[in-house]
Amino acid sequence: MSVQSQAVGRSSPSNARPRRGRRWLNGESLTALFFILPSLIGFTVFYAVPAIRGLWISFTNWDLLRPAKFIGIENYIKLAQDKEFWNALYVTVYYVLLNIPLQTVLAMIIAVMMYRLTKSMLIRALIILPWLMPPVVVGLIWLWLLDPNIGIINVALKALGLPMIAFLGLPQWAMPSVAMINIWEYVGYTALLIFAGLQSIPGSVYEAASIDGASESQTFWKVTVPLLRPVLVFVIVTSVIGSFQVFDVIAITTKGGPVNATKVLNWYIYEQAFSRFNMGYATAISIVLFAILIFVSMMQMRLMRAGESDM
C-alpha cells in the first residue's frame, strides 16, 4: 500500500501543493485525518511503538526472563562474525531467487489467461483457493504429500519408475521444495493482483494496437507489460518483502533443517529469540533484515521507475 501511495504521489505532479500555513486548517485534511484515525491508532500502538522498542532491544542483552542491560553495538559486532547469520542470509537470498521469478511469471501467465479466456468467477475463486488456506495447513498437507515413505508424490514417482526423493529431508532438495510450496500457495493471489491491473488497462489501447497490426506477442510486450508496470512493481516489491520473511511453511516442514539448508533469517531470528533466549541478539538481526529490505525495495522502485506511468 505504501508503494501505491508513493506511486500516486509521484504520478500526479500537477496537483499543486497547498500553501504550508493553510494546510492543517483545510477542512478536507481534517476530514481525511478523521477517517484514518482508527487505523493510525492501531498502527501506532501495534506497529510503530513496538518497532521503535525493537530498535532499543537490539542494543541490549535481553534474555526474555531477566532485566535487559544496555550493551551498545555488541550484538551487531557479534552478528558480523556469526557464520550462522551469514548462512541464514545466503539461504534467504537463495529462497527469494527461487521463489520470486517463477512465481511472478506463473502469476502473469495465469492472469493473462484469466483475462483473455474466461470470465468465470468460479475459476477465479479456485485459483486463489490455496491462498485462502492457513499457511500451517498448507505446510502440513505438503509435509504428508512429500513424505519419502508414505507420501503420494513419491508413490507416483515410484510408479513411473523414478527413484524416491526425500524432498524435505535432503539439503539440496529442501529449499526448492519449500519454494515450490510457497509458490503454490501464493501464485493465485499474485495472479489476482495482476489481473486487477490488466482490467485497468483501457480497451482502446488494444484496439489501437490491433489496428496498427500488432501481433499477440507484440501487444503483450509493447502494450500490456509497460502499462502494467505500476502494478507489477507493487506485486514484486511486496512479494519480495514477503519472501524475505518466509517463516510459516519452514516452521511446519523443515524447522530450518536439514543441516541448516532452510534456516532462513526469520527462522534464525525465531530460534535465537525463543529457543536460545537471545532476544537482544535476535532483534539486532531483525534490524539488519529491515535495512536489507529498505535497500532492496528502494533499488527495485528506482530500477522499475515505480512512480511513473506510461498511460
Partner: protein
C-alpha cells in the same frame, strides 16, 4: 508528499519486520520477586485457591487428572486446573508465559530444560519445603532425585522415569527366521558391529526380496530396513545412539553439571560413523526418510524390522502398530547393555501467587498415592517401586511385555543419567546440524564432531 510516503514506507517495513519481536516485549524488569524459602501465608479458610498445572503428554493427562481429583477431595481449598499441550507448543507457552507473567504455577519439567530456567531464576527452590515437610527422597528409584538438585537447591520431585529398548516387528523376524532369543542376546562393538549388525543386515529386505547379507542387495531400493531410529539425535541421542555409544564406556559428560562435553572421543565419533555407514548400506533407514514424519510413524507403517525408542512410547505402539510387535533388550556392547535414565518432575514457577499450595500439589503428584494411581493407567513408569509394580500389572493386562525396559532399569550399571548441564539449548543448536550432516554422509564424524565439541565447550568458558 514524496518524503512523507517514503517515511511511511520505511515505517511499514520496519514494523512488519519487528512487530513479531515487539509483540513479546513485555516489561523486562517484571521478573517476579518471589522468595521461595519463606512459607507464603496459606489462603484463608473458605477461599479456594486455583493452581494452574501444565503437562505435555496427552497419554498421561487422564492419570494426572485422577491424581488431581483425589488431591482436591483431600484439600477442598485447592483447585488444580490441568492444561495439556504438545511438546513444542508446551515450551513456547511456558517461556512466553514466564515473560508475560501468565505461566502456570506448576508445570512438568524436563532435564534438558530446567537448568536454564533455574539459571534465569524462574524456578522455586523447593529444598526448604522438602526439609520442612520431611519428604523422604529415598523412595525414588535410582538417582532420580539427584537429577533435580544442584548446589543444595532442588527444582523438582521425580514423578516417573524412562529407559530405552528395541521394538520389533514380529512378522519381519518370522520372515527372516530370526528368533527373539537371538535378538535379546545380540552383541555390538565398534570394530565389527557384532551380531547386531548381522541381524539388522539380515532383517533388511530390498524390493527384489534380497536381504542385506546377499551380494545382490540394493541399498537404494529397500522395502524394509533392519533398524529405524528417530533422527540424528542432536546432542543427546537418547533414543537414537546413546544406547550404543554408552556401551563403549563413552559418556556425554563426566559428571552431572559438567562444564565439558566428550563429543570428540573416538568411541563416540566411531559410533556415529557406524550409524552413517549403515544408513548408506541400507540397513538403517536413512536420515532424510525419517526427518519429516519421524521414526515411530515409519516403523508403525511396517517399513522396518527393529526400532529403538523409549518406554514413554509403549502406548503409541499399542495403539498404532499395524502388526504384532514386542519389546526386546538392547544389544550388549563391550561394557554391557546401557540405557539413558531420564525422568520428569514437576517444578514451581517463581511467579506463582500461591507457593504453599503449589508445593502441596507437587508433593502429592510425587507421592506414593499418586504414583500408584498413575501406575494403574499403564502409560508411564512411576518413580516409586510400588507404582512401577502397578504399571507392570496394567501393561500385563493389556497383553504387553515391557520387561525389556524394567530389566534395563534395575540391572546393575544398566543405566546412565541424562546429561544435565547448562547451555542445553545452545548445545542443541550446535549439535543438531552437525549430527545431521554426518548422518546424511555430508561430513566425516571424526572430523566434524571434534570441531563441534570445541564450539560446545567454548560455551562454558
Amino acid at each position: 508528499m514524496k518524503k512523507v510516503s517514503l517515511v511511511v514506507t520505511l515505517l511499514l517495513i520496519l514494523s512488519t519486520v519487528l512487530s513479531a519481536c515487539g509483540g513479546a516485549a513485555a516489561p523486562a524488569a517484571q521478573a517476579p520477586a518471589a522468595d521461595a524459602g519463606a512459607a507464603a501465608p496459606a489462603a484463608p479458610s473458605g477461599e479456594v485457591v486455583t493452581i494452574e498445572y501444565a503437562l505435555w503428554d496427552a497419554n498421561q493427562l487422564p492419570a494426572y487428572q485422577a491424581c488431581a481429583d483425589a488431591f482436591m477431595a483431600a484439600n477442598p481449598n485447592i483447585k488444580v486446573n490441568i492444561t495439556q499441550s504438545g511438546w513444542n507448543d508446551y515450551w513456547n507457552t511456558i517461556q512466553t508465559g514466564m515473560v508475560a507473567g501468565t505461566a502456570p504455577d506448576v508445570f512438568t519439567d524436563h532435564l534438558a530444560k530446567y537448568p536454564e530456567f533455574a539459571a534465569k531464576e524462574q524456578l522455586v527452590d523447593i529444598q526448604p519445603y522438602v526439609d520442612a515437610d520431611g519428604v523422604d527422597l529415598g523412595v525414588y528409584l535410582g538417582q532420580l532425585a539427584d537429577l533435580w538438585a544442584r548446589d543444595g537447591k532442588r527444582f523438582g520431585l521425580p514423578k516417573d522415569w524412562d529407559t530405552i529398548a528395541i521394538v520389533y516387528n514380529q512378522n519381519a523376524l518370522d520372515a527372516a527366521g530370526v528368533t527373539l532369543d537371538e535378538l535379546n542376546n545380540a552383541t555390538w562393538d565398534l570394530e565389527t558391529g557384532g551380531t547386531f549388525q548381522e541381524l539388522i543386515a539380515k532383517l533388511s529386505v530390498d524390493e527384489n526380496g534380497n536381504n542385506g547379507l546377499s551380494p545382490d542387495f540394493d541399498p537404494t531400493k529397500v522395502k524394509q530396513y533392519g533398524l529405524i531410529i528417530n533422527g540424528a539425535g542432536e546432542g543427546y541421542g537418547q533414543t537414537e545412539w546413546s544406547w550404543l555409544a554408552a556401551t563403549t564406556g563413552w559418556r556425554h559428560i563426566d559428571e552431572l553439571y559438567a562444564t565439558k562435553y566428550n563429543y570428540d572421543d573416538p568411541r563416540f565419533t566411531g559410533t556415529i560413523q557406524w550409524y552413517a555407514d549403515n544408513m548408506k548400506k541400507g540397513f538403517i533407514m536413512p536420515l532424510e526418510q525419517v526427518s519429516s514424519l519421524g521414526g515411530s510413524a515409519a516403523f508403525n507403517s511396517g517399513l522396518g524390522a527393529l526400532h529403538s525408542n523409549g518406554s514413554w512410547m509403549i502406548g503409541d505402539f499399542v495403539n498404532n502398530a499395524t502388526f504384532p510387535f514386542g519389546f526386546a533388550r538392547l544389544p550388549q556392547g563391550p561394557e554391557g547393555r546401557k540405557s539413558m535414565f531420564n525422568g520428569l518432575a514437576d517444578s514451581i514457577w517463581v511467579g506463582t501467587k500461591h507457593p504453599a499450595e503449589a508445593w502441596q500439589w507437587v508433593k502429592y503428584a510425587a507421592s506414593k498415592e499418586c504414583a500408584d494411581k498413575v501406575g494403574e493407567f499403564g502409560v508411564v513408569f512411576p518413580a516409586q517401586q510400588s507404582g512401577v509394580d502397578k504399571a507392570l500389572a496394567a501393561y500385563a493386562a493389556k497383553g504387553v511385555d515391557v520387561s525389556a525396559f524394567t530389566l534395563q532399569a534395575t540391572e546393575p550399571d544398566g543405566t546412565f543419567l541424562f546429561p544435565v548441564t547448562d547451555h542445553a539449548s545452545e548445545i542443541s543448536a550446535i549439535m543438531g546440524p552437525v549430527m545431521q550432516s554426518v548422518m546424511l554422509g555430508e561430513s566425516e564424524a571424526a572430523v566434524a564432531l571434534p570441531a563441534a565439541n570445541e564450539e560446545v565447550n567454548a560455551l562454558f568458558k
